[in-house]
Amino acid sequence: MALAVGCLLSCASQARAQIVLAAPVVASEENPNEPKRPFTLPAQKNEVAESLADFRRYAEKTTWERAFKALEKVQEADPNALTPSSSDGLYMPTRQVLRLALAELPPAGKQAYRLFHDADAKTLFSQAEGKDETEKLRKVFNDFFITSVGDAAADRLGDIYFEQGEMDKAAECWQAVVKWCPESSLPRVRLLVKSAIAEARGGHWDAFDDLNREVRQRHAEEKVVLGGKSLAASEHLDAFEKKNRPETRAAESRQPDLHLPVADAPSWQFRIIPQRDASAIAQVGMNWGWGMRFPVAEMVPAAAVDDQRAYLNFLGYLLAVDVKTGKLLWRSARFSDLAQKVQQNQYHYPEQYAIVVSGDTLWCVTRDVGQIGQHGQPFRIGRWEAATGKAGWNSQNINDLQQWNIMGVPLPAGDRVYVAAAKNGQGAEQYVLALQASDGKLLWSTHLGTHQADQTQMWHRRTAQPSLILAGGRLFVESHAGGLVALDAASGAIEWAFAYDSSMPDTNNWYNQPSSFTTLAPPILVGKTLYIKGMRSDRIYAIDVSTPKLLWKRPVGESSMLVGVDDENLYLSGEEVLAIDLATQKLKWASRLPNGTGWLKPLVTHDRVYQFTSRGIFELDKRNGDTVRLFRGSDLDSLGGVMLATSTRVLTVSNLAVTAYALSEGAGRDDATKSAQATAAIGAGRN
């Protein structure tokens, strides 16, 4: 995009009032109708989707026998593999799609289905005892849900899953009866209460709220029998919530604004590397003879901050700086030879280094500094003591984790840490892992999909490092390559997925290849709405994650990144800062800022957007995008980069330095920066 604009701008001075039309691009000869996707979800084979389509077509014609025959292929398929549930990119597990297809049949269709399958279903249900109980109930629930015993099978299966701790599956069973079996004799309120408790136990408090609301509105006076006790439904849920619901932090969109200092002078500045080394790193693509700029040329080191220290993961060298004084507190090693190491090889993947601080622990994705730029060397995850830099466990030393090349920014949550990964030598296959925080034990791994391009071969482009967010017991993994996957955080089971438009990364490299302006930011979840913008996508999407359902999508520049959402607008940054009206999805304003690095991390507060550029920190008014103030600061030799905040400081992290500025006295400063810190510390210019 930057190149295109540059070209247009340079042409414009010569050509007045011209209209230029580039030649149309011929679609791929391999498959002109369905271009290859850069990321394919672990979906069923096409024949399953085709059988479903046949089923719907025959059902529409009320040719039931043919319709149910077509469904047999779907019933034989893996019930957990994904199947398109709609034409807008959403995928659901096949078992759910199948159940939905049956449940949506008209009364005549359901009657016909029972005629064909009721006897089989009853037999299976009666045989559901002992060791085969779960399997047979599951078969009835998945394949014969609309038969006369479907609701009873679902209820019993839900109880079994609940006892086994599989809360998502239990809730799925009970809610299926509530939603699709209005004629069921099972007490509706009991199903709702059980379902609400299962959702809450699974961490899905948003779903709990919905169910609790329904109980209060429609069954307020009714009682349920649970564990042999008769209880008032609504009171029981309220008491359960009071006892079990964890505290939640304030919404990010309500952060008060930062008060930048009057003078440009910093509180302190920590020079990461000497200028000569920065120049050497910036030229590494030239020195290798490619005549191009490698990602390492404009990288901003991974950074995190808490109220005491700022932390950097600079290509595997870890260090901590005192936030008050700027003094170096500890470092993993001296890095005087860093520039030399960078110049020796070209597989740097600077975007794969990550650092997160969580309480007293630092979580880092890194690789041995002796392997900087070496092809095929995996990245590891490990934990360090934030105060001292003392190393804890490292995936390099854990048998189950040695095969994994760790990717993205780790997501610590309670006694777990979630992280994306690919197996060594299989850079195209994307996984997500759940690890036990205390010892690194692998709890589960789930295959999320397949990249068209092996990410370990893209040394000349920023690779797609997945973003992870956790909300309501659900883990969302954004591949940044065209696929988003929602999983049950407890079990790792895929709940649904979304395939979105994304460009195929250019895996070819040639001499003097121009660099592209690429940004990356994690999705933003506000209530039930998840906003996603993949790093190579020219679309932004809003998804209702409770259904799930695509709410809207709109075009945006491919180089843009999500930076914030408030009650009215969604904010994007990159080559320009944009505000998009949430209600109408129309562009409200655009503000072009100086470009330096694409490794940006702006801060969004109550009324402002702050962006650290090569010309200083721009403070923009969220109402109209006007520059309220341009704070030059003291890092004007740099390309700009990341902004972090503590309760007393605002920090900028560039390719050259970490610079701290004291926040001026102002109302609500502490509250503002606590929230801003929570947003900013998740990764430096990465996720």
Binding site: A12, A22, P24, A282, R592, N595
Partner: protein, 267 residues
Amino acid sequence: MFSTRRRPSTLAVCACLVHALAWSAAAQERAISVTGNGEVSARPNRLQIELQTSGMAELTQDAIIKYDDALRRVTEAFEKLQLDQLAVEPGDISFASTLVNNARGAQAKPQMAILQSIKLTLSQVDQIPQKELVATVGKLIDTAQDAGATISNNPVGSFNMVNQGGRLIVRNQVAQPLVALWVSDFEPLYDQAYQKAFEDATVRAEKLAKLAHKKLGDVLSIDESSQRVYGPDGSAVQSLASVRLGPIPVRASLRVRFALLSEDQGE
């Protein structure tokens, strides 16, 4: 570009030639041709910077909003400077459509771009002390860049610039000037240059005639041997402009043919 009033007209030259042809061949031999050069210089009194703003998006409506916002921000930024001598004039608008096709095998997506040139003119710069002028130019360039405008003379986008250790390096490009300096009323300068050129030719001719023991007669013809004006870097420019802050020279060159008379002739 030059008025016939100020320069020897073609008609006049032709008349001289006809007159000369009417003379005998002997008369032609009694003539001398010399070239005279004249140069004057002047300080530029006007400074110009060409800017570009643009709005580009897949949706034309988005491109229009981006274009409007960009133009407004640039205009307002210069208004806030409150410089009396500064004029901000929106120039030509260009519309361009391009197909962005980053995805292999994917449908290319058209992008609409609206490009707007803006001319900044700072007048009476010859009356501003040099130090102050340099500061003002710096302020204009900073304001343009901070407001998101592109300075047209910059042949590369800012993304291609690498600022390493405070040294600005433009990859594979020689840095281009950003500012043009002009002399607004330059025609009187040409008059002066021609006058000087003619005087120079006369002095030369007199010297040569004296060597030949002759004296100068009437002017038989005048040829304008060069109409080019040279900038301070030695290259020809089309008008009185410079990229450097300093006196701009105006040079004229005339070839003059005088009749040669015997020392006793005409006395």
